[in-house]
């Protein structure tokens, strides 16, 4: 009996994950090679040409998504690192309060936060209209429907996922190690670059994983803050699935996205040690 205990405990959750995470991926692959339409139904024809067609047709959106994700991730690291560093090393007794402050805005729904940015950045909104009446920016200046707005939204919405893992890694750095470096006459800068920074890299890697993947697959920011020229691959997949009901193309696009990302993620996790990334990601 004792021997079976872990299996009994794993069973319900394990089944849930297999049936609703693993099996659906197989179905998605299967749907992608079907042909037909919603009215007459879809038939499996092993039509693999859908992949080539979809990739050629939407390569711009694929590349754009990857580009936006990359730029937003780099900006996030640059913005998050000092914040995490300050909370970890200078936060003192109030560390958890500062962390809470970082997280509080995220108690407002993702969509509502993004809509709120749309209010803020609107052409006649509370930021731009005073600037326009003071002549600081030209009358036709706008932020919405630009790449800046979309990348800004992405950074805003995923920043805590970068701050938290970096904070966790920095928090674990033993201050005595830094002291030791300084006792051995390391300058302030080299104590940071040679000791603190390398020790915090696992946190940065976890942060990249936690932000790059969802940012690249995001469609909410491009949908609310962007214009037609900012369409990301997520917007295409969402429209194909939920508006056009073009399931095969949509499935082919999302299967490609998933395959690229999963290979990337596992190569990344393997290179850095799965357990570490998993641990850091879970925090």
């Amino acid at each position: 009996m004792k021997r079976f205990a872990p299996y009994l405990l794993i069973l319900p959750g394990g089944l849930w994950l297999v049936i609703f995470l693993v099996v659906p991926m197989v179905f998605m692959a299967s749907v992608s090679t079907q042909e037909g339409d919603v009215v007459n139904g879809f038939v499996q024809t092993f039509n693999f040409s859908v992949y080539g067609d979809a990739l050629v047709q939407y390569q711009t959106q694929f590349l754009r998504s990857a580009g936006y994700g990359l730029v937003a991730t780099v900006i996030s690291i640059a913005m998050a690192y000092p914040v995490a560093y300050w909370i970890a090393f200078k936060g003192g007794a109030r560390k958890s309060t500062y962390l809470l402050l970082v997280l509080l805005p995220f108690f407002v729904s993702f969509v509502l936060r993004t809509v709120s940015w749309k209010f803020l950045l609107a052409d006649d909104g509370i930021l731009l209209s005073p600037m326009k009446s003071m002549g600081l920016v030209p009358d036709d200046f706008h932020v919405l429907q630009t790449t800046t707005a979309v990348i800004g939204g992405l950074v805003y919405n995923y920043l805590p996922f970068m701050i938290l893992p970096i904070y966790v890694a920095l928090e674990r750095v033993d201050p005595r190690v830094v002291e030791a470096a300084q006792d051995l006459y390391a300058a302030k800068r080299s104590a940071f670059t040679k000791v603190v920074l390398p020790l915090s890299l696992p946190g940065v890697f976890a942060g990249v994983l936690m932000t790059f993947v969802p940012m690249t697959a995001d469609y909410v920011n491009a949908g609310i803050l962007g214009g037609p020229q900012n369409t990301m691959i997520g917007n295409i997949i969402q429209t194909k699935y939920l508006v056009n009901n073009d399931y095969p193309t949509a499935a082919a696009l999302s299967f490609t996205l998933m395959a690229v990302m999963l290979i990337g993620i596992f190569a990344y996790a393997k290179a850095l040690g799965t357990e570490n990334v998993l641990e850091a990601a879970a925090r």
Binding site: L17, F27, G125, L242, Y247
Partner: protein, 294 residues
């Protein structure tokens, strides 16, 4: 020994722990060093507050515009203070329905997730068994896969098998994406347990069952509670997977998305503010109690 060696004067900074452990930090370092350190710290502190202000900006706007006496559908420019929207929260019946759907979905999915996630956490933290690596891998995949892909593949499953998407499929999806978080939170707690306490209970004659409920469970409870809170927050906020699996069922985030094109009414700001306030209260209580516990 403590003379001004050339590295010491410019380079070194009081180590970070100094502020916390030694109460008399003032007495230690020479004046020049302290000043340069202070200036850098001040700059960094200012930066942190700037980022925090940026993070809070849209939240403040959301709260403030719930009190805006707007005349048109687009609630973008400030027209004066009013409380009237608080009395007219129910003006959009489908919005009310959507909010209650969100709450129902969150409660039901949290209950399911917490139970089966706690089981998983216990199994992973307590036992070594075949398939453990695979389980960890799937849990990791569930966290790492983009919501879009999860939603798209679930919809593919439902479409192919002729399942009508709606309330039940949303709950299935919400349990799926929050399960890993609960399992990992509980596992962390279980791993941190001192096995000798359970041994002591057994030595004193407690059965396996009694040991679990009277000893193990109370000790892992904080992990279970924070997992459940996290699952609730994830569920009530979720948009992407919900959009793919909801069919004609509306939730609060879905309703807002639908309204963005025509203009979001102030009622949405007020409901957002209320959800935010509840979240803040729970988070503050959680932080305070967990600080007291440790």
């Amino acid at each position: 020994m403590t003379s001004t060696s050339e590295t010491g004067a410019v380079g070194t900074v009081p180590p970070p722990r100094a502020s916390g452990t030694t109460s008399g930090a003032r007495s230690g370092p020479p004046v020049t060093r302290k000043r340069s350190g202070r200036f850098g710290d001040g700059l960094l502190k200012g930066y942190v507050w700037l980022i925090l202000a940026w993070l809070f900006l849209p939240i403040v706007v959301m709260i403030v515009f719930g009190f805006n006496d707007t005349q048109s559908k687009s609630n973008v420019t400030w027209q004066g203070f009013t409380l009237k929207w608080w009395g007219r929260l129910g003006d959009y019946p489908d919005l009310t329905v959507a909010v209650f759907n969100s709450l129902k979905i969150a409660v039901i999915s949290v209950v399911i997730t917490t139970v089966i996630g706690t089981f998983m956490g216990l199994a992973l933290g307590r036992y070594r068994f075949r398939g453990q690596g695979a389980t960890n891998l799937v849990l990791f995949a569930a966290i790492a896969s983009p919501e879009l892909v999860m939603g798209a593949s679930l919809l593919s499953l439902f479409v192919s098998s002729g399942v009508q998407t709606g309330f039940v499929t949303v709950i299935i999806a919400h349990v799926l994406f929050s399960l890993s978080f609960v399992a990992i939170t509980v596992r962390a707690r279980v791993v941190g347990l001192d096995p000798s306490i359970e041994e002591a209970a057994r030595d004193l004659g407690a059965s396996t069952w009694v040991t679990f409920w009277r000893v193990t469970f109370p000790m892992i409870l904080p992990g279970v509670v924070s997992g459940a809170l996290l699952a609730f927050a994830l569920s009530i906020d979720d948009f992407v997977i919900t959009q793919f699996t909801s069919g004609s069922v509306q939730t609060f985030p879905l309703w807002i998305w639908g309204a963005t094109r025509i203009g979001v009414p102030p009622q949405v700001n007020i409901i957002g503010t209320l959800i935010f306030a509840v979240g803040v209260v729970i988070a503050v209580v959680n932080t305070v109690t967990s600080r007291r516990r440790t």
